[in-house]
Each structure stands twice: as C-alpha cells, then as structure tokens.
Amino acid sequence: MRAIASLLILLVGASTVLAQRRFDERAIKATYLFNFAQFVDWPPASFADDHAPLVIGVLGDDPFGRVLDDVVAGEAIKGRPLSVVRFHRIEDVRACQILFIASASAPQFAAVFEALHQRPILTVGDAADFATAGGMVRFVTDQNRVRLQINLPATRAAGVVVSSRLLRAADVLGAGEVP
C-alpha cells in the first residue's frame, strides 16, 4: 500500500515536473480534470452502482490525446476507478461525471447545455464565454498559468456539489445567487 502510494506520488510528480519545465497547457488541464474528481461530489444516482467507474468524458475534438489517459491510468477516487470516454456528438454522451467540452464546439454550446440540462455532469471547457454561456468550470490561461472560473449556479442546478476548497481556489461566478 505504501509502495503504491509512493509510486503514485512519483507518477504525479513526474507528470507535473514535466508540466512545470515546459509550460504544457494540455498536461495541466488533463491533471486538473483528474483533480476535479477529488473536489466534486456527485449524487449517488449518477453511478450505476457503488463500484461503477468515475468517467471523464471528452466531447468533440480531443486536445489531450494520450496525456489524459496517462493521468488517470490506475487511479481510483473513493473506491471508483477512473476511465476516459470520448464522444463526438452531444447525442453520444452517456453516463459520465466530468465532461470536457472542446472549444471547437463553441457555436453549439446552447444545444449542448440544453441537452445536458439537469444532468449531474460537471461541464468543463476553455472557451472564453464557456462559463457565462452556462458551462460550469472554465480553464483560464493567464501568464503561463491555468486558473479556474466556476459558474456556481450552474453546478447547483445540475446537482453537482463543488467543494468549498475548490471554490476557494477558483474565480466564482454568481456566488451570491440563491438557487
């Protein structure tokens, strides 16, 4: 167990070291996607059973490639293994917990969010108007750093509970609104 933990630290460390040396936006975003799994709670109904995997979905053109698969490989959060599933169209989106929506899908945001309405899926994107358009978490790249912008009302509407600790580390939109 200890050995596994050490190995994990080594792996994560290795990947982040890589990210730090050359600012690798893709790798950071992939890691963040994985990290969301640790700071977000989903309603139990969103899983098929107690051992069902936590699924990270990528909609549209996948910017990560193997990087995301490498990040989640062998990882488990709260007893659930992680898996990455890629979708081409919104209609293809099945049960998943985190969904990265590529910027290429920007013109279709309204339709996408309409389709995902009320489903407990944490939507993540990096388009400039992603959060304001109804997305939940937006990657903001600023001076070689990737920061987060969270649309709190959207998460609440979807029944996804974002940890206050994550909120602390992010710019929160609509914090004062009551759902």
Binding site: T16, Y32, R168
Partner: protein, 505 residues
Amino acid sequence: MFRHGSFTRKLMAVILLTSGVVLLLTCGTFLVYDFVSFRSALARNLSTLARVVAANSTAALAFDNRDDAAEVLSAFAAEPHIVAAALYDARGELFATYPAGSSVSFPASPGVGHAFGRNELVLYEAVSTNGRTLGTLYLQSDLGALYERYRLYGGTGVAVLVMSFLVAIGLSIRLQRHISQPVLALARTADVVSREHDYSVRAERFSDDELGRLTDAFNGMLAHVQEQDRSLREQAEQLRREVAERARAEDEVRVLNADLERRVAERTEALKVANTELESFSYSVSHDLRAPLRHVLGFVEMLQEELRDSLTERASRYMNTIRSAGVEMGQLIDDLLAFSRMGRTEMQHRDVSLDELIGETIERIETSAKGRQIVWEVSPLPAVVADRAMLRQVFANLLDNAVKYTRGKDPARITVGCLGMEHDRLVIFVRDNGAGFEMRYAQKLFGVFQRLHRSEEFEGTGIGLATVQRIIVRHGGRVWAEAAVGQGACFYVTLLAARVPEMTV
C-alpha cells in the same frame, strides 16, 4: 544551626525544612510533568492547526493557485505564535509562504513529523486528499506560549512556595508550642534548680504524652532530691550543734584545767617557797646550834680535866652524861644538816656500780662493828644511773639500820639483791632477820623523827629512812618496806638501770 540555638528554633527549622522540601519536590514534580504534557499538547495543537490548514490548502495545491495558498496561510496572522508557515508542492518545492515577503528562511525541502528547537517548534504536515499527497505544510511556532507558561507557572510556584512557607511557619509556631513548651519549661526548671539549688520548684505539666511522663519523672526526681537535701541539711545542722556543744564543753574543760594548773602552780610555788624557807631555816638552826654545842662540850671536857681529882664519883658521872648527851645532840644536828643538804644539793647522774658501792659500805661497817657475828649474802648487782654520793648515803643508812636492828641475833643475816624490773626500774632490796616492826606503821617509817622503837633499845636520830626516801624520790623512784615483828624487815628501793643493765634475777 543544629548545634547551637534554642530547641524551639531547631524544631521550627526541622518543620520548615521538611515542609519546604516537600513543597519544592511537589512543585518541581508538578512543573516537570506539566511542562512535558504541555509540550506534547503544544505539538498536538499545532498539529491540529496544521491539519486544518492543510485540508484548506488541498485545492490551492491541486490547482496550482499560489494566491489562494498564500491567503490560506495568511490566516495564521490570528495566531501570534506562528512565526512562519510554508506550503511545498508534491515535488517538494516551495509553493507559498507566510508571512508574505518576510526574510524568514525556509527549509529547502520538507521533512516529516515535528521537532522542538531552542526557541521554536517545527512541524511538517502532509497535504493530501483522498489518499493522494499534494504537498507538505511547514509550520514554525515560537515557544512563547511555553515560556509564557513557564513564567506563569514559575511565578505561581514561587507564590505558592512563599505562601506555603508562611503557612508552615504559622502552623509550626502554633504546633511546636505543644512540644517545645514542656521541654522549655523543663529546661527552665532544671536551670533554676542548678543555679539556685532550689529543689522546691516543679516543672509544669502540659500533656499526657512522653513529655508529660518526662515532666512527671523529673518532678519525682526533684521531690526525691528535695527530701534528701532536707534530711542532709538537718543532719548537718545537728552535727553543727553537736560540734558547737563539744567545743563549748572543751572550752569549759580547758578553762577548768587552766584554772587548776594555775592553782597547782600557785600551790607548788607556795610550797616551794615554804619548803625552801623551812630548809634554810632548819639548816641555819642546825648550823647555828653546832657552835654553842661545841662550846658546851669543849667546856665540859675542860671542866672534867680541871676537876679530875676533886670530883666525886657522882659528879663525874653527871659530867659524863652531859658529854654523851652533847655528843648525841651533835650527831642529831649533823644528821639534820645532811638531810637538809640532800634536798638542796645538785645531783650528778652517772653510771654507778652497785656491787662496788655496797662492797665498800659493808667493808666500812665491818670495821666499826667488830665482835658482831654477821652473815652477808650479797648477790651480784647491775649498774644503775644515780648520784653516787647520794646513793652511798642510801645504802649506808639501810645497811646501818639492818646491822643495828639485828643486834640481838646471832648470827645476824643480811641479804642484798635485785628482785627484777618494775617498769623501767630495778627493784633492789635489803633484808635482815632483825627486830622487824608492825606493818601498820610501815608508812610512818619514812617520816622525820619517826621511831618505832625506844631510843634506849636502839639508838638513832630518826632521820635516816627519811633521808633514804628523800634521795630515792629525787631520783624518781620509790621506797617501801615489809616486815613482821621479831622476824626481820625488808626494804625496797627502785633505781634507774644503766643503759645496758646486766640482768640477774
């Protein structure tokens, strides 16, 4: 401290020392225990704080938000003891620090656990979520709290010590009174007894414990001593009275003695004077009588010569009677003179051979007593110490007497010998078988002019034995006689033996 000083002070010192040591040990133990527990509590509190902060900084680390991390750390501003804090990321590189922009130097890489330094407590807390380690929180707390506690406890301890000490002093003063009071009372009483020899004092009894019994025993001893002292004093007083009485009696005796001696001396002196006067009187009388007597005798002789042819026979007989009476009177006067001389002349003591002296005397008597049949029995005699001339007189008188009073005996038997010693003196006797005398007159024999026979029967002046007694008494001896009428007499004299007497008994 324990050698000198009063009992009270020692007792106090013991109580205070004991309570002080107990207090110090108690305080010390408590302080040490508290410091140890407080240190671990301090570490535990810091660890709790670190865990909270670490939990709050997981997202900041996970999403590389240094601003948020710094903000999380800035919460330590509310905890003044936190001197420095830092977050390291999963690679061990410094991620965020507190206080912002300080010059505090942080460890280059994170460690594990906690450690107490000289002035700080350093703690590392892993930042992890869901079993994944995201980084490490570093906290450095100064030990102000600890030192503050040290000061507080030290102050409290000192205050407690001082107060306990004061209470102990107060208590010991009150409590030790129960112990020291009887002992001090005993000491005071003993002091009075030894200083003033007053055995009537008694120590006060305060309690029923060993000290009370000690006091009782001491008082009992005092009573005993007092009784003995009183009896001793009485005996001494009685002794003193007796001694005084005896001294007074002795004084009286001494006064009486002195009076007696004085009176004896006075009498003796008077007697001496009287004696001397008497002797000088008798001497001068005897002396003065001789001259007229010589005239009487001379003229009687001349008268006889002148009237030789014309005197009748009767007249001639008268003249002869006058002459013989005159001769007798002359003899009497000579004897008196000799007697009186014996009492006056100086004595010259020397060793005298009795054998020689008696031999000469017998020789002289033999020539004058021709025609007498006398048997002399003389034993060898020792030498004596005496005046030779006087001693010659003694034996001349005694032997003359013996010859005289044995006139009618034929043969006359005269014995001279030594009977032995009476104390340091020889007893010499002269015995004859002559007329003797009645023993009741034995004491009268030695008086002057005392005669037991008529002068017609035995001639004599009656002075001889008086002279013998006088001489022997002057030599310190005594003289006595034993006799029976018709059976002879025996005269005894005691004389001082010469230095080496030839004892022949």
